[in-house]
């Protein structure tokens, strides 16, 4: 049986089941460690290892990704309450200052890698932007930046953010 999404035959139904089972096993193992995002890291690590070794998993289809995003967004929405509205007025100032600081730092780093490492300016800017991988891929394509470089740098940034920052924040503070 084949799964057909947006007119493209994406992957065998069996591979989907395998993928899901592997991810669930990883998530259960991760969760048993007691780490707050253990299930996510467990699923991520086991899928990354399996994919590197056996290469049977194609990209997650856009529609499946959207369902996952709805679940994530919905679960965050469930935490909304009257206190959220009260806190939001308190954080408006930092909500505006933070991105400006990030943009300033990203421009400074782009300048450094353009000058020292001789990376072309458009690729450097696309790589250093503190935004989502998916959005930057679209922008890189539009401005003809070197896509493999942009993707590698952004994926690396995400790896650092999810693997190094949480333990420091949760265990160190």
């Amino acid at each position: 049986m084949l799964v057909i999404v947006e007119g493209v035959i994406l992957m065998n139904y069996k591979n989907w089941m395998k993928l899901l089972l592997i991810a669930i096993c990883g998530a259960i193992i991760g969760r048993s460690t007691g780490f707050p995002i253990g299930a996510m890291l467990g699923a991520l690590i086991i899928i990354a290892i399996t994919q590197r070794k056996y290469k049977f998993i194609p990209r997650v289809p856009v529609k499946v990704r959207r369902v996952i995003q709805v679940l994530i967004g919905g679960s965050l929405g469930l935490t909304f309450g009257p206190e959220t509205v009260n806190v939001l007025s308190d954080v408006m100032l930092i909500a505006l200052i933070m991105p400006i600081l990030h943009i300033g730092l990203a421009l400074f780093l782009s300048f450094i890698i353009i000058r020292i490492l001789k990376i072309d300016p458009v690729t450097a800017l696309c790589s250093m932007a503190p935004a989502g991988v998916a959005e930057m891929v679209i922008i890189s394509e539009r401005f003809k930046a070197k896509l493999p470089t942009v993707v590698t740098i952004h994926v690396f940034r995400v790896i650092v953010i999810i693997s190094v920052i949480p333990p420091i924040i949760l265990l160190g503070l």
Binding site: G74, L76, L78, I97, I103, V164
Partner: protein, 186 residues
């Protein structure tokens, strides 16, 4: 009762996600679903409480979507960019902890919440971490969304400006080179 609430949650989240995606906001599906469910929760239309099952499903989904791109990283490119990646790693720390620490003086939010909000990326991941340790995840998510909107509004303009300047310089160089070769021919 619970299954009705689950259905309501999925339908409202789905509609919100669809609208957010159609409006082409950065992280539109996630933002739309969050706002739709959040507003309904605020006005009492949804009484579902976040459970361990939902948290597990969300983390499973995140692990799934993040694991595959990480696994398909080109190792050659990775080695080639090692120096840049060291700089990127350092930048992530500075953006998270230095800007986070400075900004913590401007808000009553706890240091951990500010740090999670200041991480340059990972909207879903940081918000889920905040939720799993019972910090204010909705604030973390909203701060990340505002960051994404501002960055995605300003950054393409900067890139466009740089690209136009580079193209103009290239054209000027080509014109002067062709001018020089014409003089030589004469």
């Amino acid at each position: 009762m619970d299954s009705i609430q689950w259905m309501l949650f999925l339908i409202i989240g789905g509609i919100g996600g669809f609208i957010g995606n159609k409006l082409r906001f950065p992280a539109g599906t996630l933002m739309g679903a969050m706002l739709a469910v959040g507003i309904c929760k605020y006005f009492g239309l949804i009484s579902l409480i976040s459970s361990n099952t939902l948290s597990f499903l969300v983390q499973l989904g995140l692990g799934l979507t993040l694991g595959i791109p990480i696994a398909s990283l080109d190792m050659e490119e990775f080695k080639k960019l090692s120096k840049v990646l060291i700089i990127v790693g350092g930048a992530v720390f500075i953006m998270t902890f230095v800007t986070g620490y400075l900004l913590s003086f401007l808000t009553k939010l706890g240091l951990r919440t500010v740090f999670l909000s200041a991480a340059p990326g990972g909207l879903a991941e940081m918000a889920i971490i905040a939720k799993s340790v019972e910090l204010n995840s909705s604030v973390v998510a909203v701060l990340h969304i505002i960051r994404l909107i501002i960055v995605m509004t300003i950054f393409p303009l900067i890139i466009k400006h740089v690209k136009v300047r580079i193209d103009r310089k290239k054209n000027e160089l080509n014109v002067s080179n062709s001018g020089r070769s014409n003089t030589h021919e004469l």
